[in-house]
Amino acid sequence: MTKTSIDTISPDYRTILEIVGPASSVLDLGCGTGELLSLLVQEKNVKAQGIEIDDKAIFECVAKGLSVFHDDIETGLPEYGDKSFNYVILNQSLQQVKRPDKVLQEAFRVGSRVIVGIPNFAYISARFQIFFKGKVPVTPSLPFEWHNTPNLHFLSLLDFIDYCEKQKIVIEDSYFMNGQGKVRLFPNLFAQTGIFVLSGYMQ
């Protein structure tokens, strides 16, 4: 396994690394090329499993020594037993699925905790681009053009917090960051990304 230097990793990965407990079991939904998962294996010695739909990405996961299923995260979870993972991670993938509500429901069923990372559509530069340029925003956390974006849903950090409130989803912790690091002031304006630790539905 090629080692990634801990100093060069992105703020959102660093945050997830801090959240996940050592030697826990992790299911990464939409794990891509497996960077985050292999960091978690390397730094936290987790038992890692990924699900990814892109075959080229899977080849890279396997080259990193990861266990990954070539599958759709909207249909690939029913076989897992209840609470079979300590953490289910949906980093930058929830906004790419057709039915985020269904995926979240399943994630809560199979995981004790769900970590969701979302790009903030209300980031200040995005607001500027819409308001002054009249164009769909392209930001570091939303790097795609309208015609090639894999994102199906566009939401702000506030949208997600509101959604959790309405769905009675418990947000245990939240972290907001931009390219430099954590954002503490007006995150919905200044953060590019939000990471939420969710512990399930309110009883």
Binding site: F59, V62, G65, S67, H70, G81
Partner: protein
């Protein structure tokens, strides 16, 4: 000899088939059916060196008409073994790192005990006196070979199609003896469609008047029956796209004296493949082995996930999108069972257009997956 001088860097070179004989009466091997069979000879080949700890042994298992000659060249042969593109120095099953064994199956006709072997009770070929065998019997015989080679636990069992069934059976029967498993383009249970194609093959053989209830040894052989069986088989191993690419609607050049002679290239190809099959395959073996495949069902009434419960073997499951004989959904079922049982697994569906044959032909991506998977398993041993 000259041929493999050219390929010296990539090929394992000259190899020879070896034979292990066991279960001599009165210690015959008990079969799944309750019948006893012995003595049993298994043909096998080995490539590379077994390490001192005996932890680098990989068992390769072949498909319906395959044999123990998986890699390298037999003296005087121009063509290498059937998986030479996967096995050899620096290849996916790297013979510089691993000790690779390929075992033939009982019921076969490529050096192992089967219906063409001499029945010690009658001193004549068994023919239909040969007992029905199962995939489990094949594996039970292979265990005796692995014991004979002094290997307690295999680093990996790997194979495609019927080889994949043996892989799954190995894990089901001897999970403590396999660190990892690579079932490719295979299934937990043979489907009605798959049984149907095999039945057409068997009926073709049995409809040949020369078949004579299997008593054709030393006489005229049921060449045409076996040929038709092989033709059907070949069609199912290819895909619409691969047949289009290989033959199109091209016609053969020479004029046919007979109205229904082979006019299209695809007809000529199938007939050639079919007619030549008798040179290396026994029609009765075709009956016995296809029956073993059709009877294969590891779901055990409960599902394969129950079989896998508590199993520590790691899986790499590979399917091909264009394979309509062993469609990807069957491999997904293996993957699902692994998920349910909490067994560590990788599942990948590859894009080849070659149909079921892809695992033999288009091996680059498959080799990439196998290389890295084995590396990780070997590191953990």
């Amino acid at each position: 000899m000259r041929n493999n001088m050219v390929d010296k860097d990539k090929s394992i070179g000259i190899v020879e088939t070896q034979y292990h004989t066991f279960a001599a009466p009165p210690s015959e091997m008990e079969l799944d059916s309750g019948n006893r069979l012995g003595p049993i000879t298994l043909a096998y080949e080995t490539y590379g060196q077994l390490n001192n700890e005996k932890t680098n042994a990989i068992l390769i298992l072949h498909a319906l008409t395959g044999d123990a000659h998986a890699a390298g060249f037999h003296r005087g042969d121009k063509a290498p073994g059937w998986w030479d593109n996967m096995i050899g120095p620096g290849k996916a099953f790297d013979t510089e790192k691993y000790f690779v064994i390929c075992s033939n199956v009982i019921g076969g006709c490529r050096g192992s005990t089967g219906p063409a072997s001499i029945n010690p009770g009658t001193d004549k070929p068994y023919g239909l006196e040969f007992p029905l065998i199962t995939i489990k019997d094949m594996v039970n015989a292979q265990v005796r070979l692995i014991d004979h080679l002094g290997i307690n636990k295999l680093l990996c069992v790997a194979g495609g199609s019927m080889g994949g069934m043996q892989v799954l059976q190995w894990v089901a029967s001897y999970p403590e003896r396999v660190f990892s498993a690579i079932p490719i383009a295979t299934t937990i249970v043979h489907s009605p469609q798959q049984i149907a194609f095999n039945e057409v093959g068997r009926q073709a053989i049995m409809a040949d008047p020369n078949w004579d209830n299997g008593n054709y040894y030393g006489r005229r052989l049921p060449v045409k029956g076996l040929s038709v069986a092989r033709m059907v088989g070949h069609i199912t191993y290819m895909s619409d796209a691969s047949m289009n690419a290989k033959f199109g609607r091209r016609v053969k050049n020479e004029r046919q004296p007979f109205k229904f002679g082979a006019e299209f290239e695809v007809e000529g190809y199938l007939q050639y493949r079919g007619d030549n099959f008798i040179k290396r395959f026994d029609p009765n073996s075709y009956l016995y082995i296809t029956k073993a495949i059709d009877n294969f069902d590891l779901s055990n009434g409960q599902g394969f996930n129950h079989v896998l419960k508590g199993v520590q073997t790691r899986f790499l499951i590979i399917a091909f999108k264009s394979d309509w004989l062993y469609p990807a959904y069957q491999s997904q079922e293996i993957a699902r069972a692994c998920k349910q049982a909490g067994v560590d697994a990788i599942y990948c569906e590859l894009n080849s257009t070659y149909g079921h044959d892809a695992f033999l032909i288009e091996v680059d991506e498959q080799a990439h997956l196998v290389t890295h998977f084995l590396q990780r398993v070997f590191e953990g041993v």
